[in-house]
Amino acid sequence: MILYVISVGLSVTMGLMGFINLAHGVFAMAGGYVFATALGRLGLPFPLALLLAFFITGLLSVVLERLLYSRLYNAGELAQVLFTIGLIFMAVAVARAIYGTLAPPVFLPEYLKGQVHVLGRDFPTYRVFLILFSAVIIASLWFGVERTSWGAMVRAAVDHRAMAQSVGINTRRLFTLTFALGSGLAGLGGGLGADIIAVQPSYPFEHLVFFLIVVALGGLGSLRGPFIAALLLGIADTACKYWIPEFGAFLIYAATIGVLLWRPMGLFGTRV
């Protein structure tokens, strides 16, 4: 489930901006580290640590975007793939140099531990919190993209950058901000998930496939898509692991193939 909040950020950069950003996990990892450091070493309260994860990752991404990414908006897909893989490699080494190889410990505040009883079943509190929190984020994001002038500008700029520029939109700044938002969301996701998915230097590699699957199934350029895809995959995956654990690993790939053959653009995609 947590992988969703990370993926929705990816949907923003990859879908809205049309940049194949394989290094997305790097930002999630950065967010996770910031979060764990703030919570553990600095002893900050949980919500503040989350905010920090969001903003610091966002800032970091602005630097990278201005320095590197922006040069490649018009490059081919292959160049983008190669470049972002290169970034992953470097980030893995840097993370290892700074934080070592062990995952930093994450201790949740008391009010998020334990279980809640809903409909006669026990659900871990933290997971319930995660799902609600993600829903809030998706709702506000959807509102932002579909209903505000910022959203309209982004969509315009992606569709036709020159045209958008000629009607007076500062596309450069717009892209930077959008990119920061996408990465910030990844950081937020990394922080939220740090308790469940340990943050380690190899993080961007390990979960790359999952991010991609969620985005591909959800469809590029759609915000609802990845959310619903992540939800469906999460439920199906859990159910499958529960009932037939022997085939737990197959399901996610089989589902990917099935859905993509049925709807090559993903469930809610607007373009391939």
Binding site: L68, L72, A75, A79, F89, A93, Y253, I257
Partner: protein, 332 residues
Amino acid sequence: MSANLTGYTGDPRIRWTEWLPWIVAGAAFFLLPEYLALGVRILIFILFALSLDLILGYAGIITLGHSAFFGLGAYVAGCLSAKAGVSDPFVQLAAAAGAAGLLGVLTGAVILRTRALTLLMLTLAITSILLEIANKWTSMTGGADGLSGVTVAPILGAFKFDLFGRVAFIYCLVALFLAWLLVRRLIYSPFGAMLTGMRENTMRMHAVGAPVYLRLIAVYTISAVMAGVAGALLTQTNQFVGLNVLGFDLSGELLVMLILGGVGRLYGAFIGPVVYLIAQDYLAKQFPEYWYFGIGFILVLVVLFAPGGILGLADKWLRFSKPRSSARASAR
């Protein structure tokens, strides 16, 4: 895609520069006898990269699942030997090629109607499923422990694989040479021209009545066969198969090598693996814990300053070879 790629327009005669890789390989055999193990690995990856270049560089099929064929080839060769007792190297190669080709036809027929990210994800899912099968089917594949007990009879009954990797080196070199002849022949044929056409403008190829879909399946299958052979070579020279041959990270690494060398240039597939594997080997020895940084740095530099890969850069600097001079710098 980029405009500066070789294709039908090229001169089909072999230029003298094209003999260079073979001269280098021959020289390496005599001058660096202690590095042949690495050399064998490089040769196998060149063959593998060549197969990817055929579909990515010439036909524009983007994939992260090419390790499916490589791994299948590796396991078919390995299982034949370890489970069925077939130790003749050529039979193993043929079986691996056949199996990979079959998988290529079957999966190609299903997935080649899609493009871009969708295609990328489908190929990735296929190789991941194969990986899971190999992991589960322990009685056949050895699962995560890997398949050991692979024996390979001496080649032609006379040359046994030795510790120094001499026989393995020559064996792989010959295989690569044959594959190179094949690929060269293909890309300078009308078939190759059609592929290039599809890469550049699929709509127009449809419009002129080319059987686009069938051609794509054909080239995908040929590429799968080559990848299968590369996998079988890996099995034979290692006498061991591990699950990693099916991993999507292997496909990713391969993609990186190819793009590093230069896509759609035939020789990019030669340069890329050489540079990548030697750099990795060297960096991993110097900084075993941080060599990732070096590789990543090289990749970023290449993207920013040499968008056509190393060969693209070389083109820019020395635009002397005739067929390429017509195409300008490797800008996309």
